[in-house]
Amino acid sequence: MSAFFSWIASLPALLQVVVVVIAFGAVIALLIFLLEVAPRSGRKYTVIRLAACVLVPLLAFLFLGSVLWAAAVAAVLGGVFFWLDYRSRQGAGYLFQLVGFLTPAFLLIAIGLIYPTIITTGQAFMNSRGNRFVGFENFVWIFTQETGIRTVVNTIIWVIFVPILATVIGLAYAVFIDKSRGEKYFKALVFMPMAISFVGASIIWGFMYTARPADQPQIGLLNQIVVMFGGEPVAWLAHQPWNTFFLIVVMIWIQTGFAMVVLSAAIKGVPIEQLEAAEIDGANGWQRFRNVTVQAIKPSLIVVLTTISIVSLKVFDIVRTMTAGANGTSVLANEMYSQWKGFELGRSAALALVLFLLVVPIIVYNARQLAKQREIR
């Protein structure tokens, strides 16, 4: 396998894409073919099954380069075929197919998400080199020195302000342009930043925030406006604690489009009859909006708020690109990366774990909503 990837790496960049996509496609096609023929009866399929039992271990041997693995694969395969004949009550080949469909995903998830999560959790209680247990020392470090506290507080500021402001602006905009002429284009304008990378957005806004000395012409739009009204140019990203809010503006700029699109679709789903009934009852525009529309789109509102909360909790790119955490703007994700780069594995893992613990309640809430919906269905 390593040899295969090394060989690929020696090709020109775009050729690598073609080779990998074709190779991957071939593997998936073979998998599905085997799944399809596994349960069929008849001599032809018996031959194919037999071939599979020989070929797959052979491939395993070639790629993984060990006899043990080939033997293991052969044993599993043989076992599964035996099993599927045995359990024909469920429909022949039931288990084999189930395993075939789910294994690739579960293998990757186990290697890339579950195992690392366990390791990181362990690391959080180890020293910087990861070889001595230090208990809660890393957490004490986060929550006792000033920059650590600043980092946590900043993250909380992000999680409070970004979701609320982005949702409120997005909702207002969705309502204002609802059923207006050119709604499509109005939407596209605000939605566009969703396609722009956080890095790109950071540069766009970094340019907006540029400050020049007062005796020179300003090239940043915001300072130009300040100067126009007779003020002194401001170094927006230098002064605590306001600089965090100027970083937050960038995130709001990106996320409002998401809120707007989802809420706009929800608003269009509000039954006209309810709005008319409220109108007949004498409710004015604002009351109708608050008591009918907002009630009807509540599920979407919750989803938008939780989704943006999670994004803001994990914010990294914006802080990294605009300030790299200087002047007291650091957040958990940025600090975690900095500590890792500084070979402080324990602290880095502890910061990741804090981040994880902050995300959990939000997603558990979401997951419970999902479970409820599945029960209804």
Partner: protein, 326 residues
């Protein structure tokens, strides 16, 4: 999904009918007309316009600056360009040749393409298979397992980065049997492909599952009665019917991978770095060279913008499916 789709259909359909309606209060008497202009008065229009301007001007400023001569950019604000329009492509030429000791911006642009395409297709295939199993193969503990996969979205990738990296450099061994050898930085894009594929899976499985369960059970049953196995059902029925959903997730993942910085910083170092990483680097080291930064940023965002505007409909559909169901 059916609800969301009807919503979208009504949105698209009423666009034509709506064209005649005036912006602001009108004396329209039909039921639809009365609902139409509920909250749209002059102030609302003004506020909407302000928001629209505020959301567009920063990008506009970036674009105009990127085509101004470098000397002009530092001498006057980009808004003066309208009075004195001078256009040059020098900034783009310069920034494509700029970079660090290992690669130029142009190289990193190629790297971005080489990273993004496989990192979009691979998780998509794997997730579609798994989503199908969750939707149409009955097994014990299916619900619990599915919610488990959904809940894995909790794990911030920050938790997974470092151990996964050391896993790559060590190789995976069980006992003294090697599952795969070390995938060092020398092996190019492999690490970053695998990392992106893994991190995409929970959300991809969840989104695609939402679409695949919406296929009427009768259709699947009929195919089964006709003797189709899971493989055939998957290829002949599920894939064609969920193509729009697959397309919308593909766009999602494409934008996500292209725009990502964190995974790239950890897994795509040196010669295989994508454009976001190089851009962040230039922004750190040459933060005042706005001629390079604006042009570079524009090069980096142009591909996602094209994808986005060309395929906006699918993108919105995916977004709605992912969120209104959540």
């Amino acid at each position: 999904m059916s609800r969301t789709e009807t919503e979208l259909v009504t949105t698209a359909g009423s666009g034509r009918a709506r064209r005649g309606a005036a912006f602001g209060r009108s004396g329209n008497d039909t039921a639809q007309g009365r609902v139409k202009n509920r909250l749209t008065n002059r102030w609302a229009t003004l506020a909407a316009l302000l928001i629209a301007v505020f959301w567009t001007v920063p990008t506009l400023g970036l674009f105009i600056s990127s085509i101004r001569p470098a000397a002009d950019i530092t001498r006057s604000g980009w808004w003066t360009w309208f009075a004195n329009p001078a256009v040059t492509l020098d900034n783009y030429r310069d920034v494509l040749a700029a970079g660090n000791s290992q690669l130029t911006m142009a190289d990193s642009f190629l790297n971005s393409i080489a990273i993004t395409i496989p990192a979009t297709l691979i998780p998509l295939c794997i997730a579609t298979l798994a989503a199908y199993a969750f939707a149409w193969i009955d097994f014990k503990g299916r619900n619990a397992l599915f919610i488990g996969v959904f809940a894995l979205q909790i794990v911030p990738i920050q938790m997974a980065l470092v151990p996964l990296l050391s896993l790559f450099s060590r190789g995976v061994k069980i006992g003294n049997v090697e599952l795969f050898g070390n995938l060092d930085a020398g092996v190019g894009y492999t690490q970053v492909w695998i990392a992106h594929s893994i991190f995409a899976l929970p959300l991809a499985i969840y989104l695609l599952y939402n679409f695949i369960t919406e296929i009427p059970a009768e259709v699947i049953e009929a195919a089964r009665v006709d003797g189709a196995g899971h493989g055939q059902i998957f290829f002949r029925i599920v894939l064609p019917l969920t193509m729009p959903a697959i397309a919308s997730f593909a766009i999602f993942q494409f934008l996500w991978v292209w725009n990502d910085l964190l995974v790239a910083l950890v897994f795509a170092d040196g010669k295989v770095a994508p454009i976001t990483k190089l851009l962040a680097e230039i922004s750190g080291s040459r933060g005042q060279d706005w001629n390079l930064l604006t042009a570079g940023a524009f090069v980096a965002i142009i591909v996602p913008l094209i994808v986005f505007f060309a395929l906006q409909r699918y993108f919105v559909r995916g977004l709605l499916a992912g969120s209104t169901k959540g």
